[in-house]
Each structure stands twice: as structure tokens, then as C-alpha cells.
């Protein structure tokens, strides 16, 4: 559970040196949790800034450029503004569920963050069912959206929540099945072992044709699962206002907003881990410097995040029926066929390995 980077060893010995043995475990768990919370917040702020910069770039604008160097502190200023805003709510809302809903999203995405191997030893929780745990956790987040939409006692919010539910339940299937296709290659659900397998070639190369198909399905379904454009039926501004979080303001709105961006990063991070070798460097060029793994992991993950932002500004929004047709009539059959194809390739040893 503890990793063996030098810095954590130092912290560990420092904690042990002045604390009774009984509470060191708890102290270290709390420290790790705080580290992940910090990562969560910083990552969320950075992703929002990145989204705005990329959007500006696609629309031939400059984007945020007033606060700090090239607008670097714009999102921090926004967060401070949101913190100081009044928390409003509807009169007849179910206050308990209304206040509870954002935490479902936040907690589920935080739990998902915990299992990623950011580098060789930099992993908080190397659970032996890694990928399956991620799929299980991601199916909880939708409850927050449904509760938030219903309990704010608003028609638009309710419709937004319903759409989100339909969309997430449908596309979860494709995400799961496309990851399952890759599991056929690795033979293990544990994330550290999945990366170990990729030392003889990233999985997208090892599995060639079916792996590329699985990656495409994964990216489409992943974008849909995070409710981002072109699948943002949930908060279609022209039809539903802001969708399920219409009635939320201030920090509670920020929770939803933050969780959406973190979910985007999680989808990208799963993609990185399963298809692109996680923290492994291309062709092993920096194999002798293990801590560069963090750099490679984030580089690959942000490349995939950029791809999802690219989707957003390239494709027009789908209608609800088109959305369901895409999933149930195209992606799902292709996916099932793809699993059989991958099984045949693994069975006949047609994989490409270096």
C-alpha cells in the first residue's frame, strides 16, 4: 500500500520518529488523502483553464489573459469568487438530498483517482481488481446527478437528470466492454500488472486492429459518460438551461463542475493506463530515470484530454434518439464482435510484441 519513493520513505521515517506506532498508520492515510485532495483541486482548476485555452485556440481567440501570467490564475480567481457566493436554492426542494447530491459525484471521482499508478511506485491503492473497481465506482456518480436533478424541484433539472441517467447507463456498457477487450490481452485486472505487460509494447500496438477499434469505442463512450459535448444532452443550454445543476449556485455548483472535469481526466487516465502504457516511456528511452514516469503519465493523459476537448469543438450535438441509436445499434454490436476478434487474435498468438 505504501510506495517506496525516496520522499515517501523520508516522510514515513519522520512520522515514525515522533509518533506512537498505533497512530502512524492513520496519520499516513490522512496525509495520502490530503495529497490526493490537493491533486484533485489543482487538477480541476488546471483542466478548466486548459478547456478555456483550448476553446479559445479553436475559435481563434486568446482566451483568459488578464489574471496572472497568460491568465494562469484565472480559474483560481473564479474558484475564490465561487467560494464567496451565496448558496441559493428552491423553496420546495428536498434539502437533504439537494445538499447530498454533489458529494456523490465528488467522492466517486476521488475514489477512482486513488487507484491510478502515476509512476512505478507512486500508487495509493493497488487493488487486485483495478479496472473492475473503476467501472464499479463510475456507476455510482450518476446517482448524484439523478438526485440533484430530482431534489431541486425544477422541470429542466429533472429532464436533464433523466437524460444523464439514460446516457450514462447506456454508455457504461461500451466503456466496460471495450476495457474487457483489452483485459483479454493482459490477463489481469490489476493496474500495475496491466502496465507490467506493456513493457513488451503498448497494448494498442500489441493488439493492433481490435485494440484500435476498442480505443475508438472507448473514447466515444468515455466522452458520452462524462456528459461532454457532443453528448451534452444533459445540460443542453438551448433546451434545458444548465440541466441538472440549474438550481445549484456557488460552491455546490463548483463541485459538479469540478467533478465533471476530474471525470474527464479519469477517463483519459484509464485510457492511458490500458492503451498507452501508463507511465512507461515510449521505446523505454527514460527507463533509467523512474520518476519521469509521472511526466509521461500526465503527458499521455493530457493528450487524451486534449482529444476530448477537440471532440467538443468539432462535432455538433446529437439528439437523444441519435445518442441511443449510436450506442445500442452501432457501438454495442461492434464491441461484442470486437471481443470475439480479440479472443481469436490472443488465441492464435497474432499479437505484436517487441
Amino acid at each position: 500500500m505504501y510506495n517506496s519513493l525516496i520522499i515517501t520513505n523520508n516522510i514515513h521515517s519522520w512520522v515514525v520518529s515522533w509518533m506512537p506506532a498505533a497512530v502512524t498508520g492513520i496519520t499516513e492515510m490522512i496525509m495520502i488523502a490530503l495529497a490526493y485532495l490537493t491533486l484533485f483541486a489543482v487538477l480541476g482548476l488546471f483542466l478548466v483553464l486548459m478547456e478555456r485555452k483550448v476553446a479559445a485556440w479553436f475559435q481563434l481567440r486568446i482566451g483568459p489573459n488578464r489574471v496572472g501570467f497568460f491568465g494562469m490564475f484565472q480559474t483560481i480567481a473564479d474558484a475564490l469568487k465561487l467560494l464567496s457566493k451565496e448558496l441559493t436554492g428552491t423553496d420546495k426542494a428536498d434539502k437533504f438530498l439537494y445538499n447530498l447530491a454533489p458529494y456523490f459525484l465528488i467522492i466517486s471521482s476521488l475514489m477512482a483517482l486513488a487507484v491510478f499508478p502515476f509512476s512505478q511506485n507512486l500508487q495509493a491503492f493497488d487493488i487486485n481488481i483495478g479496472i473492475f473497481f473503476l467501472i464499479a465506482i463510475s456507476s455510482i456518480g450518476v446517482i448524484g446527478i439523478l438526485l440533484g436533478g430530482w431534489s431541486s424541484n425544477n422541470k429542466f433539472a429533472l429532464i436533464g437528470a433523466m437524460r444523464s441517467g439514460v446516457q450514462t447507463i447506456s454508455y457504461e456498457l461500451s466503456v466496460g466492454l471495450s476495457l474487457l477487450t483489452m483485459i483479454l490481452l493482459t490477463g489481469s485486472l490489476q493496474l500495475s500488472e496491466i502496465i507490467e505487460v506493456q513493457k513488451s509494447g503498448w497494448l494498442i500496438v500489441q493488439g493492433h486492429i481490435p485494440a484500435v477499434i476498442a480505443f475508438m469505442i472507448y473514447m466515444i463512450a468515455g466522452t458520452a459518460e462524462t456528459n461532454r459535448a457532443p453528448f451534452d444532452m444533459v445540460e443542453a443550454e438551448s433546451e434545458l438551461g444548465a440541466g441538472f445543476h440549474t438550481e445549484y449556485s456557488g460552491m455546490k455548483f463548483a463541485y459538479f463542475f469540478l467533478a465533471e472535469f476530474i471525470n474527464m481526466f479519469i477517463i483519459a487516465a484509464i485510457g492511458t493506463t490500458v492503451f498507452f502504457g501508463g507511465w512507461l516511456s515510449p521505446f523505454g528511452i527514460t527507463e533509467s530515470i523512474p520518476w519521469l514516469g509521472v511526466f509521461w503519465f500526465f503527458l499521455k493523459a493530457f493528450a487524451l484530454v486534449f482529444l476530448m476537448m477537440w471532440f467538443r469543438w468539432t462535432f455538433p450535438r446529437l439528439r437523444v434518439d441519435q445518442l441511443l441509436t449510436l450506442e445500442w445499434k452501432y457501438l454495442l454490436p461492434i464491441n461484442l464482435f470486437n471481443i470475439v476478434l480479440m479472443a481469436i487474435i490472443v488465441w492464435l498468438n497474432f499479437t505484436i510484441q517487441f
Binding site: L97, N128, S139, V142, L147, S151, V166, E172
Partner: protein, 196 residues
């Protein structure tokens, strides 16, 4: 340490279970039920049975609860409250629950539990081999029977969702899973309402 986590989980589960049956708002009951199910998943995690815990989260928390929330969302307005049952019914239910509790407690306390000395984490590979093993102690027959049952249920769901011969109407979007259909219809209805 583990003892305290267990007691915290147990407390959460018992309190939410009681809240779930005594709450008069339907969706709140569902959320309390969700807490009970997540607590059970936590106990599985504590017992190092990660696979079952993840199954618990996916199937119960992610599947069944979402389905229940959907049905509540469709039929229930936020102002409604559940009516209180008659006194005689409440007494009978309480008696039945107490008898059930008594049976469980006597079974648990009369059974000699043996503490295990070795902790073995069951991996997914073990479960997979056990499911497909044809030898003694293998689960190939129940596995196959359940697959056939699931297939039958799936086909049944498609047939019901399709309805009778609606080929003249829009056959365009017939969702495969049963629960999708009413959601869609309700959505359209609501949208019509809004536009009107």
C-alpha cells in the same frame, strides 16, 4: 483498527436501514437503502473479498438503486409523502421482523465460528477457474443455467419493449434494455409539456 472500521460500518448500516423503512419520503428511503448496500460492500472490502465488493457496488449500488431511482423519478412528485400504515399492520410487521431477528441472532450465537489464521485474497482468476471447472466443486452447471436464464430474460425484455407489431410506427429507436423505454416516453411527454 479493523474493529473500529467494522463498528462504524455496522452503525451506518443499521441506522440507514432503520431510516430507510421509517422515512416518509420515497427517494430518501432509496438513498438510505443505498447507504446500507454501500456499507455491505465496505464489509466485503474489509474481508478482502474485493471482487464481491465491486460486484456489490456495480450491481446493487450502480444498477438496482439507479433503476429504483428512475422509477421513483417517474411516478413520484417531490411534494408527495408516503402514507402511514395502519396500526395493526405495523404491529404485525414489527413482530415478523423481531422473529426474523431472533432466528438470525440465535443462529449466529449458537454457531461456533472458527477464526482463520491465514488471510487469502481471492483473485479474479481463481473465481474464473472455479466458474468454468467441471471437476468436483466446480460451478460450470450453475454458471450455464444462469447464462441461459439471463439470455431468456434479455430476449423477453426485448419482446416486451418492442410491443406488438409496431412496424408501421417509428421502429427507429427500440432500446434493447427494458428500463429505457418508459424513460424515453416520459421524457418526450415532459418535453411536450414544456414546449406547450
Amino acid at each position: 483498527m479493523e474493529k473500529y472500521i467494522f463498528y462504524v460500518l455496522a452503525l451506518i448500516m443499521i441506522v440507514s436501514a432503520i431510516a430507510s423503512v421509517s422515512s416518509r419520503k420515497m427517494l430518501r428511503s432509496v438513498v438510505y437503502l443505498l447507504f446500507v448496500l454501500i456499507g455491505i460492500a465496505g464489509i466485503y472490502f474489509m474481508a478482502d473479498y474485493n471482487f464481491l465488493a465491486a460486484i456489490q457496488l456495480t450491481v446493487y449500488a450502480g444498477g438496482i438503486i439507479v433503476l429504483i431511482i428512475f422509477s421513483v423519478l417517474l411516478v413520484h412528485h417531490i411534494d408527495m409523502e408516503l402514507e402511514v400504515a395502519k396500526k395493526s399492520k405495523r404491529i404485525i410487521t414489527a413482530l415478523a421482523s423481531l422473529i426474523g431477528l431472533g432466528v438470525f441472532l440465535t443462529t449466529i450465537y449458537s454457531h461456533p465460528f472458527v477464526e482463520t489464521t491465514t488471510a487469502v485474497t481471492t483473485t479474479t482468476a481463481d473465481i474464473g477457474f472455479a466458474l468454468l471447472s467441471t471437476e468436483a466443486g466446480g460451478f460450470i452447471l450453475p454458471f450455464e443455467v444462469i447464462s441461459i436464464l439471463l439470455l431468456a430474460v434479455m430476449i423477453g425484455a426485448i419482446v416486451i419493449a418492442k410491443g406488438e407489431d409496431d412496424t408501421e410506427e417509428e421502429p427507429k429507436e427500440t432500446p434493447v434494455v427494458k428500463q429505457e423505454e418508459p424513460v424515453e416516453k416520459k421524457e418526450e411527454l415532459l418535453e411536450n409539456e414544456v414546449t406547450v
